[in-house]
């Protein structure tokens, strides 16, 4: 069997004295769509941000395609990456879609999509543009390729952000509450694109409040509570038969 695309072992993260993650284990294989649920403050966003080291884990291992991200101890700052080069290389293989879109506001839509391929991965510009145009076509925004992010609606911006993520041909796509900042009527267009991606076999880690997405699209659900995995499994099983009282409560309040 090949190594999992992503594995997280016994991950801990503290901010000062506050331990946010208390030992998380997670494995994602090629094509897995994993939804991470939990109340606010449960640590779900922190978990996602630890995967690409936007937050540095206090302890624990992260492996991408079997490659361990090396850490070392620093006297002042605690655990830090041993090689920033390795971290940058791994980050370039993991694409993130943010709650607040975070499209680069000084670049046009097409420039946003080709930025990482050209300036991080070294893809020739012409080639990157051809690919970016196809991706924008796919998220339905080819006509807006020369617009600036500020000229688009939230839903359109998030679709551009998804195209930007796809442009680096990521091993794993990380979605950090991708629909939480959107007006209700714009949520659908983003979820449609995400369903498409799941169906074509992308490996996705999705922190979300969209129960329908978690239940219908993902093949695995993780419910976090106070920094621990409280419930996990196939959505059809755990939504019908939650073993944890807290998860039962959680789904009943959200629905």
């Amino acid at each position: 069997m090949t190594a999992p695309t992503l594995s997280i072992r016994n991950l801990h993260k503290s901010f000062a004295d506050n331990e946010v993650l208390k030992g998380i284990n997670l494995e994602a294989h090629q094509g897995d769509v994993i939804s991470i649920l939990g109340a606010s403050g449960s640590g779900k966003s922190t978990l996602l941000r630890c995967v690409n080291l936007l937050e540095t884990p206090t302890s624990g291992d992260i492996l991408v395609n079997g490659e361990l991200i090396e850490m070392k101890q620093d006297k002042k700052r605690g655990a830090i990456p041993a090689s920033i080069k390795q971290v940058e290389r791994i980050r370039s293989r993991l694409a993130m879609v943010f709650q607040g879109f975070n499209l680069w506001s000084h670049l046009s839509v097409i420039e946003n999509v080709i930025e990482a391929p050209v300036h991080v991965l070294g893809v020739p510009k012409k080639e990157a543009i051809v690919k970016a145009e196809a991706l924008l076509q796919r998220v339905g925004l080819y006509e807006r390729k020369d617009y600036y992010p500020g000229q688009l609606s939230g839903g359109q911006q998030q679709r551009v952000a998804i195209a930007r993520a796809l442009a680096v041909e990521p091993e794993v796509m990380l979605f950090d509450e991708p629909t939480s900042a959107l007006d209700p009527e714009l949520v659908g267009e983003v979820l449609t694109v995400m369903r498409d991606l799941a169906e074509e076999g992308r490996t996705m880690l999705v922190v979300t409040h969209e129960m329908a997405f978690a239940r219908d699209v993902s093949n695995k659900v993780l419910f976090l509570h106070q920094g621990l995995v409280e419930e996990e499994g196939k959505p059809e099983l755990i939504f019908e038969n939650p073993s944890s009282e807290r998860f039962k409560q959680f789904i009943s309040t959200v629905y």
């Binding site: 980050r91 975070n102 000229q151």
Partner: protein, 246 residues
């Protein structure tokens, strides 16, 4: 009157010199300002300390005094250093070859040109003001912009040059433009250390022709021309780099 009593050519050369001093000082000030701003925002307390001392001292002393200090003080410092270096080197060499007559390796007297001193001083002064402008501009850039750059694997140089710099400049432009106007006018001070800029030439010319009003009026008009052109250029730049929204 239009040949300025025979001073037209030399005056034009002075006007050009003023512009050169201003532009080169601006370049130095922007570089120093960026470095100081980054130092102030860094996690290193040593760098933050140095940058804070720099901006505090420079902004707290009149430009005129700084100019005199750097020009005359810098002159003495360089010459002392050169003297001491020669003495030290000769001492060392005499130890090896006592019979040889050793001479100076650096010239006995190094003359700092007022041109160079003027640019360094003005660049140094305005670097401190630019540092504050840039610091504010960097803080004004939304955190998510750099976070996205990090998440997509950019190293810190790419993050700065591709994302931070173009975005901070739109926030920095109004302050930068202001600093530039003040800097341009501050170049009038280099005349006191003997640089043949248009202010110095106007002074000399009005002395010999007894027409101070004419000459200083022309100086005023040239400065006004420079600042007017700058202002329209800045307006254009602010428009070009403004955040694109509907």
């Amino acid at each position: 009157m239009f040949d300025l009593y025979g001073y037209k050519d030399i005056f034009l050369a002075g006007a050009w010199l003023t512009l050169q001093v201003a532009l080169l000082s601006l370049l130095l000030a922007v570089v120093l300002g960026l470095i100081a701003a980054l130092a102030k925002l860094s996690h290193s307390s040593v760098l933050t300390g140095i940058a804070t001392v720099y901006t505090t001292i420079i902004r707290g002393i009149p430009d005129l005094i700084l100019m005199l200090l750097i020009f005359f003080g810098g002159q003495m410092l360089v010459n002392n250093m050169s003297y001491n270096f020669n003495e030290w080197l000769n001492g060392v060499m005499t130890g090896y070859y006592p019979n040889h007559e050793w001479t100076s390796y650096l010239p006995d007297y190094i003359d700092i040109s007022p041109y160079f001193a003027g640019i360094v001083t003005i660049g140094f002064i305005f670097g401190a003001y630019m540092a504050e402008t840039f610091r504010g501009a960097i803080l004004a850039v939304d955190k998510g912009q750099m976070e996205a750059a990090t998440a997509y694997g950019m190293n810190k140089y790419k993050r700065f040059s591709r994302i931070m710099f173009p975005q901070m400049m739109r926030h920095a432009l109004p302050g930068l433009g202001n600093n530039w106007l003040v800097l341009l006018k501050t170049t009038a001070l280099v005349s006191i250390i003997g640089l043949q800029d248009m202010v110095k030439i106007a002074g000399d010319a009005s002395g010999s022709t007894q027409k101070p009003f004419t000459f200083y009026l022309v100086v005023a008009l040239v400065f006004l021309l420079y600042t007017t052109i700058s202002t329209s250029f800045l307006k254009w730049a602010e428009h070009k780099y403004r955040i694109q929204t509907r």
